[in-house]
Amino acid sequence: MRRLPILLATLGVLALIVVSLFVGSYDIDLRSLFTDPEARRMFFISRVPRTLALVLAAAAMAVSGVIMQMLVQNRFVEPTTTGTSEWAALGVLLLTLLAPAASPLLKMGAASAFAFLGAMVFLFVLQRIALKSQVIVPIVGIMLGALISSLTLYLASTYQLLQTLATWRSGGFSSVVRGTYEPLWVVGIIVIGLYLAADRFTIAGLGRDTATSLGLPYRRIMFIGLTMVALATGVTTVVVGFLPFLGLIIPNLVSMARGDDIRSNLPWVVLSSVALMIACDLVGRTLVAPLEIPATVVLGAVGAVVFVAMILRQRKKAHV
């Protein structure tokens, strides 16, 4: 009986996945899937990869958010509010300039390396500021991100890559087909890795001193965590662009409802992120059909509203 809610949630997400598999311009329904070989072919070229990409990317960003929130001990951080995503973008742009013909795998490597560097810079700056209120930390991150993103913009504008940058940042899921999304499976591995190491991150989330006195190799956990975040962010940024706020709002909403036990929260975080991501993509896909509004744009609109609501709620609490 205790498992009933999560079972229902899983069924709900599965239903969304099925909807996602059957919405699109090409005529594919359950019948044609079995009778029409062309529809079946398109199903596996276009629909399945897109839905898988949505699931994996959503899980990646949500999990990245969870890890960062634990490591920084702040509820409002995630790759897009710590500048990590912006660093990943800078990495890809630099690689595009230096080696335009670089393979996607190399681009992901560059993006991940820069994301890692970015996360380190964020932590370094964070250590040096006195005021660490819940609200200041993400503002510092967003400022750092803006700094990096203006550098990226400057480079892109100098080398006539603005259009390329815009297309690629707000890329979304419209161009996902078989052959483009596969690197996202790396992210699936990271999600599993986090599940296995969840208790350690929960302890790390109690702070450096507590964690060390409990026998946790704090530095190593920190390093592993940041590597996971950098990989997830790098890969996701290259394949589908920025997914703003996802890693922030979902883990927070789940924590509000259930407390801070990462291991038992994780399934909920992943399920809710996937549900939100697919819902945003469905809205973007149907609203202006046959063209599309990128799911990232829809997500950004939803995410920004929830983010502001959360900050206001936090402020109210702080004043009491």
Binding site: G24, L161, Q163, T167, S175, R285, V288, L291, I293, P294
Partner: protein, 318 residues
């Protein structure tokens, strides 16, 4: 002051290749031309010209005009190496960040603004007489005809009416050939950028306006296709619409190509797209890749060449 200008004029006409020294040092007077801001009086055969409107570069070149300043970041990769390397041509910056100081320092007689530099018109006007004769989608007679008007006006200003007529005639000829070769086929107009192919109707829809083609994404004459131009388009959507032809503007190739390499990323994307295996345009190989420089020139010569491409490609299957 007058003498310096005249001297510069003499030097310039001496340097100019096709300017066969027909005029020497006389005061040229003025000429009235029609611009986007109405009738404007400009100096005839101005000696020092700042060329900002990239659609006019090739025409100026054909007239043998060497500007005193041009946006070097907007010059196409091929055909403008001489302008690029010439230190007597100052860099005017690009439209996102014009170098007004540098433009001012050249003490120009005339600034050919407009198009990408359209929003800087007022500031430029303070430096020197600035005209906007760039083609625009808003012009009554349409973009392609506006290209002709622009060429004629340039010919009038620089005393090169005959050369201008030649250029316009070339466009007319290729446009007629392209119109005759097209017979209402369904076409998808795409822009390739960052390895993706999106709807390019708002950018190259002008190209098909005079042609007998049907845009597969044209929602019954409404402008709805261009509103969400950069919004993305799933490959399966194009497979479903199954256009007979695809005309592609390769933005990646225009800006990303390194010297000495032939970059056709769009071709790679099109041919590697599994979802398009069974489409008409792929099985019949009916894809037109516009010249890599189209994105940066967009002038009358670019359109002439594009119409030629269409006429040739459609003529073969005709």
């Amino acid at each position: 002051m007058t003498s310096t200008v005249l001297c510069a004029g003499v030097v310039l006409s001496a340097c100019g290749k096709s300017d066969s020294g027909s005029d020497s040092g006389k005061s040229h007077g003025n000429v009235t031309v029609t611009t986007a801001k109405g009738e404007v009086e400009v100096p005839l055969k101005p000696a020092k010209v700042v060329a900002l409107d990239n659609t006019s570069f090739l025409t100026l070149k054909a007239f043998g005009i060497k500007p005193v300043a041009a946006p070097k970041g907007l010059l196409p990769n091929e055909g403008f190496e001489d302008w690029q390397k010439d230190s007597s041509i100052k860099d005017a910056g690009i439209h996102h960040e014009p170098k007004f100081e540098a433009i001012n320092a050249t003490e120009p007689d005339l600034i050919i603004g407009g198009y990408r530099f359209g929003e800087h018109h007022d500031k430029l006007s303070k430096i020197a007489k600035t005209i906007d004769i760039a083609p625009s989608d808003e012009s009554k007679e349409g973009y392609v005809n506006a290209l002709k008007a622009q060429t004629v006006t340039l010919g009038k200003i620089f005393g090169q009416e005959d050369k201008a007529k030649e250029i316009v005639a070339a466009l007319d000829k290729s446009q007629q050939a392209a119109t005759a070769a097209t017979k209402g086929e369904k076409v998808f107009l795409g822009v390739a950028s960052a390895g993706k192919i999106d709807n390019g109707a708002s950018r190259i829809g002008r190209l098909t306006q005079p042609l007998n083609l049907k845009n597969v994404l044209d929602a019954g004459g409404k402008k709805s296709t261009s509103v969400h131009d950069n919004s993305g388009l799933a490959p399966e959507t194009i497979a479903k619409l199954n256009p007979d032809w695809v005309i592609l503007l390769d933005r990646d190739a225009a800006v990303g190509a390194e010297e000495g390499t032939v970059a056709v990323p769009a071709k790679k994307v099109v041919e590697g797209m599994e979802a398009w295996d069974k489409t008409t345009f792929r099985s019949k190989d009916q894809v037109i890749y516009l010249d890599n420089n189209f994105y940066l020139t967009e002038g009358i010569q670019a359109y002439t060449e594009a119409f030629d491409q269409v006429a040739t490609a459609f003529g073969k299957t005709g």
